[in-house]
Every structure is written in C-alpha cells, then in structure tokens.
Symmetry: C2
Subunit: 121 residues, 2 copies
DNA sequence: CAGGATCCTTTACGATACTG
DNA sequence: CAGTATCGTAAAGGATCCTG
C-alpha cells in the first residue's frame, strides 16, 4: 500500500475519526440512544413499557430498532412463559459498555444546553 | 395473589432521558459527530477540506449540516478575504463542550467494537 | 473555492390497522 | 401483549450543472 505524503492541514489521524464513524454506524437513527438510556435506567422492560417510556416512538420503529440492537448484541430479548406471553428487553453486558457515552450525552443535555439559552436571551 | 406494584418500570427519572433527547435533537443525523470530530482534530478547516476528510459525505449534506450546527452555535463560519474567497469552519467554545461525548464515542469505537468481532469469530 | 438549484432514488420515519 | 402489514410523507443521498 502506498504511503500518504505527510503534509498539510488535511492530514488528520484517521483512527479516531474512523472510530467515530464505526460507533455511529451502529447507533444511527434518532432513537437508539434514547432507547438505550431508558433501558439502562429501567432494567428489564417489556415492549409496551418501552413504547410508553420512549417518548414519541411508534411501535414499528421501536420494534425495528430493538431488532437492530439485538443483532448488534447491545440488547437482549427474552420471551417469558406467561399468558399472554410477555417479552423482556434488557441491555447486555456489552451494551453496558456504552454507558459512558450515554452518561456524557445526558450530562451535556443537562449542563450545557440550558446554558446556551441563558447566554442568548 | 395480589399483584405487587413492583419497582414499577414506568417509574423512571425523566430528567436524564429528556436530557438525552435534548442532546440528540441537535446532534441528530449521521454526520454531525463525524464532522465535529474531524473539526476538533483539524482546527480551522475549509469547506473542501471537510468534504475530503468527512468520508462519504456529499457537498449538499455537508453544507446543510454545517448550517445546522452554525445555527446551534456549535460551529463558526468565517469568510476569508482571499481570491477566490475561502471559508473557514471551526468548532466554537460552546461546541468544545461536546468534546467529552465525542471522546467517549471515539474510545468506544476503538475499544469495544473490535472486541465484539473477536468474541464472535 | 464555496456553495446553491435541480432532479431523481432510496431510506427513515410515522399513523393506522390488523394478527397470533 | 407483542408485534407485523400497509400506506404515506419527509428526509437522506447521489449526480450534475451553475454562479459569484
């Protein structure tokens, strides 16, 4: 493979940027952080619980996002042997490694976003 | 048997979840973290630099996302008095408060995502 | 160089209805 | 309850051309 000529301001460490892309690729869409945040607080939750708690999401979307995250091992789906059957979702151990990201997102939302309004008004 | 109103799943602290929603509302879309990450590393960058560095983005999207973030005071746009004119973008001080989030996203991308492949293969 | 305008295709998302 | 099916809108994404 050919080496890049190391020079100008466009010469940036791609590792970090690729890592950001990698992460966002599996967390894309407007719901995943929201769902994960809810699930991290709520522990095991059923479909309907999530539908109620994740504000504004439609069943189709929730279903799709959960399947998505299940595929990526972020979330676990368990069918309970009840009548009628219930299904429980929870964050996997692997999914918990996202906790720091979600913490920071929550902190920022509380801390800094409010600050902007104060500055501008 | 009486049903326990257990540690009711629906009884969740909304503050945190609303904060997540707030944050993601202004960082929605698949590009903003990517652009911000690039801009944080690259310092002042011109439109064309970003177009080259933000892998896969189209000019139209980049333009739109930058305007979006400019509106939200995350990014600053400066027109240089050159010929032909050049425009420089940089992260604002306020935008820098997102650094911790972006750091965590980058760290996760490097640290954990790789691990999953190893486990599964 | 920094973009906006246009056109067209493909996903993302949303509302409602329906099924095991 | 836990979803899927269906239909419709909106936004993303790509290609090409255009302008100050």
């Amino acid at each position: 493979m050919k080496k890049q000529p190391v020079v100008n301001n466009t010469n940036i460490c791609r590792t970090r940027i690729n890592a950001i892309k990698d992460t966002m690729d599996i967390l894309s869409g407007k719901w995943k952080f929201h769902i994960l945040g809810t699930l991290m607080q709520g522990g095991k939750m059923r479909f309907m619980d999530l539908l109620r708690e994740v504000d504004g999401i439609a069943a189709k979307m929730l279903s799709k996002e959960l399947q998505d995250m299940e595929m990526n091992k972020l979330v676990n789906r368990t069918i309970q042997n009840t009548k009628p059957i219930t299904v429980e979702y929870e964050v996997t151990e692997y999914g918990r490694t996202l906790e720091r990201i979600i913490d920071e997102i929550a902190i920022w939302g509380i801390e800094y976003r409010k600050g902007l309004y104060e500055k501008n008004s």
